[in-house]
């Protein structure tokens, strides 16, 4: 058994460390059940603005389940049940007074498979602002659409065909469209569940670049199966295993100096 750790990728892009400050979201002793089956067992984690947090771990360990607990998307699964406490800016998101609609506007989500609506590119982006009544009048809506597409790095590619269907774009463009759609409502947190797993390396590189740019304004959580990706884009990494949080810390620590042997085995690929 070799003792040297082989980091799968160079050190994270962003060398400068941003001070953590107050957490944007704080999860305490969160357990999630599907019917009788427990998928997440007592996970506590903090998510910070201006940071990308990567969730890694073997398939089926509950990364998606936990991610969906953060914007209450688990509510759409009838059998799912969440215990414990999750706060957004100190406010319990599972409290009875919480407006799920408002919560999801503040905590946006990007899915594994790009899922643009079968509408025009423009209408895809305008969807959120319209339902939340963010824009006043057509000009403002146009501005939001343009700004979101620019931020998602898609504007140059689609500015001449905003009326084309969003589903007619390539996979990578669709995923950036979905990111643009998510940021159009100006969320505070963006959750991404394996956003690049359906994309080729070039499209993946674009999305990673985009995530790094967006980090400045949002708290971003990304679930990924790629160690390289976690190392490249994230400042903090959480390793999940069998429904529990094994280790959570700065990405460089996790990849170069993990405290837990399970983490080490996983990131060096020794885990089965």
């Amino acid at each position: 058994m070799s003792e040297t750790l082989v980091p799968p990728a160079p050190a994270p892009l962003s060398a400068e460390e941003v001070p953590l400050g107050e957490p944007k979201m704080r999860a305490r002793d969160v357990s999630v059940y599907y019917g009788e089956k427990q998928a997440i067992n007592s996970v506590s984690i903090d998510v910070h603005t201006e940071h990308v947090s990567a969730f890694i771990g073997p398939s089926g360990c509950g990364k998606s389940t936990f991610l969906r607990a953060l914007n209450r998307m688990n509510d759409t699964i009838p059998s799912a049940r969440v215990q414990g406490q999750i706060e957004l800016d100190g406010e319990d998101i599972y409290a009875s007074g919480m407006d799920v609609v408002q919560l999801r506007a503040r905590v946006g989500m990007v899915f594994q498979k790009p899922n643009p609506f079968p509408k025009s590119i423009y209408d895809n982006i305008a969807y959120g602002p319209r339902i939340h009544g963010i824009a006043e009048g057509k000009n403002e809506l146009d501005a939001i659409v343009e700004r979101s597409l620019i931020r998602a790095g898609l504007w140059e590619e689609v500015k001449d065909r905003l009326t084309d269907s969003g589903t007619a774009l390539s996979g990578g463009q669709q995923q950036r469209l979905c990111i643009a759609r998510a940021i159009a409502v100006d969320p505070e947190v963006i959750l991404m569940d394996e956003p690049c797993s359906a994309l080729d390396p070039i499209a993946t590189a674009k999305i990673e670049e985009l995530i790094d740019e967006l980090r400045g304004s949002y708290a971003i959580v990304i679930v990924t199966h790629s160690m390289q990706q976690a190392a490249r884009v994230s400042q903090r990494t959480a390793f999940f295993h069998l429904g529990t949080l094994v280790e959570y810390g700065s990405t460089s620590d996790i990849f170069t100096n993990p405290r837990e042997v399970r983490t080490k085995d996983y990131i060096t690929g020794r885990y089965g």
Binding site: N115, Y127, I131, T167
Partner: protein, 461 residues
């Protein structure tokens, strides 16, 4: 020794062949080293039975008209046939009387001339029956011999039998198609005859409909064959009034069932809705004629409409719409289900409510499928007969007032075909032309709808 005896004998031989071939195959199997032969004994049995029975039965089927012709020919060659009337009904009836007595289906003849012919008929019938019987048996024997010669342990009877099964299945599926083609052909034929008497222009664009089955058939008045009022009535009742009822209710029930209904509710509500589709249309017809129509007339009177019809288009259309609800609902339900969950998730994750998600994402995404379902529903509604026969009027009015009496294409087809006109009369033939137009329209609607559905399915696969 009638044809049915022959059939029984052939089938009996087939059964015998089945048993013998099967038991031989069983013996092969015992002899085989590992107890295995290429095909199971049953397949060898079936192979023999098919070879024995099928060719012989086919021969019998072909033989019977040939034998009839040969019998008649040989009877006519008999001297007693020389004084028969040359042509016409008299000659035919004498011949058939004699034949009936000869084959035992009648006891006596009335025409003395026929009596002379009974004996020749009997002889000829007997002769050709024996010939047919013998040939059938020979064919069965030859078939059996072929089958038994091939009966070896390594013979792959299974594949051969399966090929026969395939052929039978193909034949079965062709029956429906061939029948439809036959119906269309006869429809086209009669329609062309009708258009020989009344020009298609007068028929398709005329606005006055009053065919008179008692008029002189050789000189129809084309101005009485304008079908526009019927097309309008059909459209108004089936495609407008019925859809105004069926589309919103069907859509809403589909959305409720698909998105909101708890699983337990759905398990009984959906079948309950589908049962509605199984109610015989004549029952809807009663309901329309006896309950809805008078109620609508009373309501019209109450709001001050003078002289409303008791056979209003509204009554027929509303009930037809109710009949179509389950259909629209189930098509819409399927289309919404076909929209990937990822769409709904994407919308919900943007902070849309479920209602907004349905309205802005699911229904638009499902729209092609829903439109196709509506088109199928319309084609069903305009072809529907029983409700309108019972509740709509026979009077061909061209009106946009739903309280007026109106008639439809199907109602007029029924009226014309059950009327007292002779079969060659243009008033009767007009029914075929109407049927043809209806057929083309529903065919077109179904065709387009199915293509739309197909494209829609592909979009999500």
């Amino acid at each position: 020794m009638s044809a049915s005896t022959l059939l029984l004998v052939v089938l009996g031989l087939g059964l015998a062949g089945w048993l013998v071939a099967r038991s031989r195959a069983v013996m092969f199997r015992r002899a085989a080293s590992n107890n295995r032969i290429a095909s199971l004994p049953n397949f060898h049995g079936w192979y023999a039975a098919i070879w024995i029975a099928v060719p012989a039965i086919l021969f019998t089927i072909i033989w019977s008209p040939i034998a009839d012709a040969l019998v008649t020919q040989s009877v006519l060659a008999h001297p007693a046939a020389a004084d028969l009337p040359a042509f016409g009904i008299a000659r035919e009836s004498i011949l058939s009387e004699a034949q009936a007595v000869a084959d035992g289906s009648a006891n006596t003849v009335f025409n003395p001339m026929a009596r002379e012919l009974v004996e020749p008929f009997r002889e000829a019938l007997g002769k050709y029956r024996v010939i047919g019987f013998v040939v059938a048996l020979i064919i069965a024997a030859v078939g059996g011999a072929i089958a038994f010669l091939r009966l070896r342990p390594d013979f792959r009877a299974r594949n051969k039998v399966e090929r026969t099964v395939l052929f039978v299945l193909l034949l079965a599926s062709l029956v429906a198609i061939v029948t439809t083609l036959g119906i269309v052909a006869s429809l086209v034929f009669e329609t062309i005859r009708f258009f020989g008497m009344v020009s298609p222009i007068d028929f398709l664009f005329g606005t006055h409909w009053a065919p008179n089955p008692m008029s002189n058939p050789d000189n129809p008045d084309p101005s009485r064959y304008g079908a526009i009022p019927l097309f309008w009535g059909t459209l108004f009742i089936g495609a407008i009034i019925a859809m105004i009822v069926a589309i919103p209710i069907g859509m809403m029930s589909a959305i409720y069932l698909n998105q909101y209904a708890p699983a337990r509710m759905r398990t009984w509500l959906k079948p309950a809705l589908e049962v509605l589709a199984g109610v015989p249309t004549v029952v809807y017809g009663y309901f329309a004629a006896l309950t809805v129509a008078p109620a609508i007339r009373d309501m019209a009177l109450a709001i001050g409409v003078s002289n409303p019809s008791s056979e209003s288009a509204l009554a027929a259309g509303v009930v037809m719409g109710v009949m179509i609800i389950p259909f629209v609902s189930s098509m819409a339900d399927d289309s919404i289900t076909a929209v990937p969950q990822a769409m709904a998730d994407g919308s919900l994750a943007m902070g849309a409510t479920q209602n907004e998600t349905i309205k802005r994402v699911l229904v638009p995404a499902a729209l092609p499928g829903i439109v196709a379902g509506v088109m199928l529903a319309i084609s069903r509604a305009i072809g529907e007969t029983m409700i309108v026969v019972m509740a709509a009027s026979f009077a061909a009015n061209l009106s946009a007032n739903p309280l007026d009496a109106m008639t439809t294409v199907t109602v007029q087809i029924v009226a014309l075909l059950t009327g007292e006109g002779s079969f060659d009369h243009p008033a009767t033939l007009a029914a075929f032309a109407l049927g043809f137009v209806l057929f083309m329209v529903t065919l077109g609607l179904n065709f387009i709808a199915l293509r739309v559905v197909k494209r829609f399915r592909e979009a999500y696969e």
